[in-house]
């Protein structure tokens, strides 16, 4: 598999969102509600917006 821009960018965003999810899981346990899940959700929205705005 080529180490292309698509591969690096896709991997980078997925890694960021996975890390934020782990932080959200920890925070949920600490504060006792599901509100921290909004963090990885916002990061995913950021990814989708970024892909849709790619120009070339």
């Amino acid at each position: 598999m080529a180490w292309s821009f698509e591969f690096k960018a896709g991997l980078g965003w997925a890694f960021l969102i996975a890390v934020l999810m782990v932080i959200a899981l920890w925070a949920q346990r600490q504060i006792g509600n599901l509100l921290p899940l909004i963090i990885p959700i916002l990061a995913y929205i950021g990814f989708a917006a970024w892909v849709s705005r790619l120009k070339k």
Partner: protein
């Protein structure tokens, strides 16, 4: 004696697993087999395969994604209902881990329909247009790039998604 609720839960879980294997199997096929193979093919061969092979694979890909995520959320909500919609503070590790995996899967579903299929159907239509003598749209390369990027994202996210799905039952942390 098997209870009706047990049959209900195993039916949803079976649907989730069968549809999930179909979906993620096709995701790995696209990323590990099709994309590298298509790079070795000439344009005329690709244009024969895109409206046939790719179109058919994408049909199973996008609908198995819907079935997987729908069955998954149905299972989650049904199980939470059997626990009386308990306060999140009282929930055990299974809920936290399966919710993480479920959100990853939901992000992947949104990518399938909102990015991959959105752009791939334009590519397919453009390739079918070529066969009718129409010119290729200048945005075609950009459509392919966006779809590939979302597919790579899904490939990478499938690994933590499957980890949290399995860890829910097999790595109870609390």
């Amino acid at each position: 004696m098997v209870e009706a609720l047990g049959v209900y839960f195993i039916a949803i879980r079976w649907t989730h697993i069968v549809a999930g294997i179909t979906w993620i199997g096709l995701l790995y096929y696209f990323n590990f087999v099709q994309v590298p193979t298509f790079k070795e093919l000439d344009a005329s061969t690709r244009n024969v395969l895109i409206p046939r092979l790719v179109k058919r694979a994408l049909f199973w890909f996008r609908w198995s994604a819907v079935a997987t995520v729908s069955a998954g959320w149905l299972y989650f909500v049904s199980r939470w209902a059997t626990d009386g919609f308990a306060n999140p503070a009282a929930l055990d590790w299974w809920y936290y881990s399966i919710l993480a995996g479920g959100l990853f899967g939901t992000f992947m579903l949104l990518n399938v329909w909102g990015i991959i299929w959105l752009y791939q159907k334009r590519v397919i239509a453009a390739v079918e247009g070529l066969a009718q003598g129409k010119a290729a749209p200048p945005e075609m390369a950009l459509w392919g790039k966006r779809a590939t990027l979302a597919s790579r994202f899904n490939l990478a996210l499938s690994f933590p998604m499957l980890f949290f799905m399995a860890a829910a039952s097999h790595l109870p942390l609390f």
